[in-house]
Symmetry: none
């Protein structure tokens, strides 16, 4: 599976809580390979607490001394980076990077994605190990992402790309509805019934109908009623007519 070839590499992380947050973010998105390059304080209870049900990712993490060791068998290396380093490097945003990562890992290549220190990111010599730099477009007012958040976004993009690789079309919002949608025939019967009921209760004057029925048609056609909803609305109309009919008879016998 393509995701198993992807290694998340944290370089000299300062806060163990972030390591736990990264483990959880990874597992939530279906990633499992974590490498820690000389973490400052690890193992630590804060990491386990923040990992929640992803402690298996922590348990399986590889701990190494240098970045070179971490990426030794990687065939495609991505380094996360803010824009604007002195030497320009191929750089893409997280979405484009995720596509590249999955294309390569899907062909069986080992991929490493490097995330730098909380305060200084990746050093120039670490960035120069990379085939591609990845940036996340943050706001100029506060561009510095939390480490675990950065991993979350990249892992999310990888997952979205993996999911979309099989299905080309986004799912419409009414996919997998629980009831079939109403037929035009049944809708036509509903509108006739609605119009008659509105006349019965004195809300619609057939001599001066204005735009009323047009607006109601637009409303119910926009929503696409399902058969059960249509039955509910027909039931309400029927009950409304029944509730006012005895009154009509009273009036007639006056």
């Amino acid at each position: 599976m393509a995701l198993e070839n992807i290694d998340i590499v944290l370089v000299n992380s300062l806060h163990s809580g972030n390591i736990g947050g990264v483990a959880r973010a990874m597992k939530n998105m279906g990633l499992s390979r974590l490498t820690l390059v000389k973490p400052l304080e690890y193992p630590a209870p804060e990491a386990i607490w923040r990992a929640a049900s992803a402690s298996d990712v922590l348990d399986g993490a590889r701990i190494v001394e240098t970045v070179q060791e971490a990426v030794a068998d990687a065939q495609f290396i991505v380094g996360t980076s803010a824009r604007g380093r002195t030497i320009p490097w191929p750089i893409q945003d997280a979405r484009q990077c995720a596509a590249r990562v999955l294309n390569n890992s899907g062909r069986g290549e080992r991929v490493a994605i490097l995330f730098g220190r909380e305060d200084r990111g990746l050093l120039n010599e670490e960035l120069e190990l990379c085939n591609l730099h990845c940036h996340i477009p943050t706001h100029v007012g506060y561009p510095s992402l939390n480490l675990a958040m950065a991993v979350q976004i990249v892992a999310y993009e990888i997952r979205m790309h993996a999911l979309n690789a099989s299905q080309s079309e986004p799912e419409p919002e009414d996919a997998q509805w629980d009831t079939p949608f109403a037929t035009a025939d049944n809708m036509a019967r509903f509108y006739t019934h609605l119009e008659q009921t509105l006349i019965d209760i004195g809300f619609l004057d057939p001599k001066a109908p204005r735009q009323l029925m047009r607006r109601l048609r637009r409303l119910y056609n926009r929503v696409r009623l399902d058969e059960m909803e249509l039955n509910i609305l027909r039931g309400i109309l029927k009950e409304t007519q029944r509730a006012i009919k005895p009154n009509d008879r009273d009036i007639k016998t006056d």
Copy 2:
């Protein structure tokens, strides 16, 4: 600016650290409006620490008692949710939701995005306030995202969409609508009126309501009523009540 109309609403958050993480995630992505519905422990030093340089977002946060209060003037409400509720609701993934959110907020509409409790998410009655449900496609092995991570992903998608918005997008079906969409406050009044009228005509038995009101809420939230449509429906309810009232009096004088 479209992003200023977007309100991130945290409902009964349990951990103050998450509130700080949310504030930072928001500011990193250019969002600033935060509403806290009855947070469990807040203010708290953990929130300020995790917010880092986003303490201004915390300082500007609105704190309210109820979800209804939080969304009162919202015209488009999104609720984040896992899949698989008993009654399906219109649901889209975070990417599609971000597009909807920005289209609406860009036209000056007030948008609220609800995030539920860390342990239980949003309650059914809170999800029923929403026009659209949003899901983040997590891995089945560990589907439960940290709260701040969920906000980070949604905020990131909103930012990505805002950056791409200059590229041409197909226009959504409710673009350039002729009338403003109804606020949550007015929708709440409509549902109260509708429920009372259904009781009055004998269609709804308050002792055995079943799923009736839930299905009607889903229907009218799905369609997004505009103010004129809401007035028409309120007028129909009023006229229905008036039409059956003389009958009630006849029965009493019998």
